[in-house]
């Protein structure tokens, strides 16, 4: 895909994302309603439709690295909010705020991002028909 920073097997990523069975695509009931904040290191970024994905790592309480996926709205929506294909670079220290998947999968439905330079993007997500 043109907009990928790294070439990474897309299918493998896809299966890894959904390994926690996020059912009813876009149904908000599969996400916890409270907001959780993670400060992580970006590892990969796919700027695409229908969802933009950012992979990041956080250090767990046991000192081990946890791999997370932040799911943001579509490329078309995020481009209108000022994003482009180089807005995330591997190694960036970013704050991700969102709704965690109830299944226990490390997936975050993104609501807000704080970039290394302090700039923020806030995303309007529907309660039951998300973008």
């Amino acid at each position: 895909m043109k907009n990928k920073i790294f070439s990474f097997p897309v299918l493998a990523i896809g299966i890894a994302i959904f390994a926690g069975t996020v059912t009813a695509h876009h149904g908000s009931s599969v996400y916890d309603s409270k907001l959780t904040t993670y400060k992580g290191t970006v590892t990969d970024f796919q700027f695409m439709n229908p969802h933009t994905e950012i992979w990041f790592e956080v250090t767990g309480t046991d000192g081990k690295a946890e791999k997370w996926t932040a799911e943001a709205p579509s490329l078309t929506t995020m481009a209108r909010l000022g994003w482009n294909k180089t807005i995330f670079r591997p190694g960036d220290q970013v704050t991700f705020v969102g709704n965690v998947a109830k299944s226990g999968a490390k997936i975050l439905r993104l609501r807000k991002v704080v970039f290394p330079n302090g700039k923020e993007t806030v995303m309007d997500r529907g309660e039951d028909y998300a973008e």
Binding site: I15, H25, H26, N49, P50, R80, D124, D128, Y129, E131
Partner: protein, 264 residues
């Protein structure tokens, strides 16, 4: 009494005589005419469904505000009730998973009208050509041609996914009349059904420079016991251009999701 009736009759005749519909040429070939009446009001621009709640009586979900026709149960006939039971939507209050859903748009079939307005919150661009108003949808680059040159509906072709639309101006309102549908689409995201006799009337009015309202009426006697519909508000997005949104990208994404669900 007689004088008032005479006065009313004279007013009506005057109104009709100056109506653009009377003055428009009728044509034997269905090709948009350059001499069609100019739009009374310019509806052009990129528009996006407002998320503003209509009142403060309660909290509205975005599904109710932007992804539904009306926030009440449509008046279905027994035929429609049966058909509706078999619909398995992927979004909204009756949502099931993608692998369980039979929503035709998951296979990228056209959404039909008015559902084209209700998908994914993407904008629509309205533009003018001689004899036509165009609706360009970001959703999968659909285009609706609304013929405003006074033609009649096409009657001798099979029904289509998006219907056959003709438009006329009533004062500051563009009245779009659409018939000629096939019966393969859902009316909305919940899966409400319709027949090939579906008749949709949309009344478009630019309330102010930044606001467009669309009042939609649905008539389909076999499916609904009486006409019903909804009122939609659109906000102008002066700094937006339509982006590319390709339905098949959703399919790729869903396929990945379903594979990990293990065909659940």
């Amino acid at each position: 009494m007689r004088n008032r009736l005479l006065g009313l009759t004279l007013s009506a005749v005057t109104a009709l005589a100056t109506s653009p519909l009377i003055l428009a040429q009728t044509s034997k070939t269905n090709v948009a005419k350059a001499q069609a009446p100019a739009p009374t009001v310019d509806l052009s621009g990129v528009w996006r469904r407002s998320r503003r709640a209509p009142d403060k009586t309660r909290k509205y979900t975005i599904y109710e505000l932007a992804f539904s026709i009306a926030n009440e149960k449509p008046p279905m006939t027994p035929w429609a009730e049966e058909k509706f039971k078999s619909a398995k939507p992927n979004v909204g209050p009756n949502a099931v998973s993608i692998s369980e859903s039979n929503d035709p748009i998951l296979q990228c079939f056209p959404p039909g009208v008015p559902r084209i307005f209700l998908i994914r919150g993407e904008p629509v661009e309205i533009a003018n050509l001689p004899g036509r108003v165009l609706m360009l949808f970001e959703y999968d680059h659909f285009v609706r041609n609304i013929y405003t040159d006074g033609r009649e509906h096409t009657k001798d072709l099979p029904g289509t996914w998006m219907g056959d639309s003709i438009g006329k101006w009533e004062g500051d309102t563009l009245v779009v009349d659409t018939t000629g549908f096939n019966d393969k689409t859902w009316l909305d995201n919940d899966g409400h059904p319709h027949t090939e006799d579906l008749h949709v009337v949309e009344r478009l009015r630019r309330v102010d420079h930044e606001t467009l309202t669309i009042d939609t009426t649905i008539e389909d006697p076999k499916a609904y016991t009486k006409p019903w519909g909804g009122h939609a508000i659109y906000e102008l997005k002066p700094d937006w251009n339509l982006g590319e949104m390709v339905c098949e990208d959703n399919v790729t994404y869903s396929d990945m999701q379903q594979k990990s669900e293990g065909g659940k």
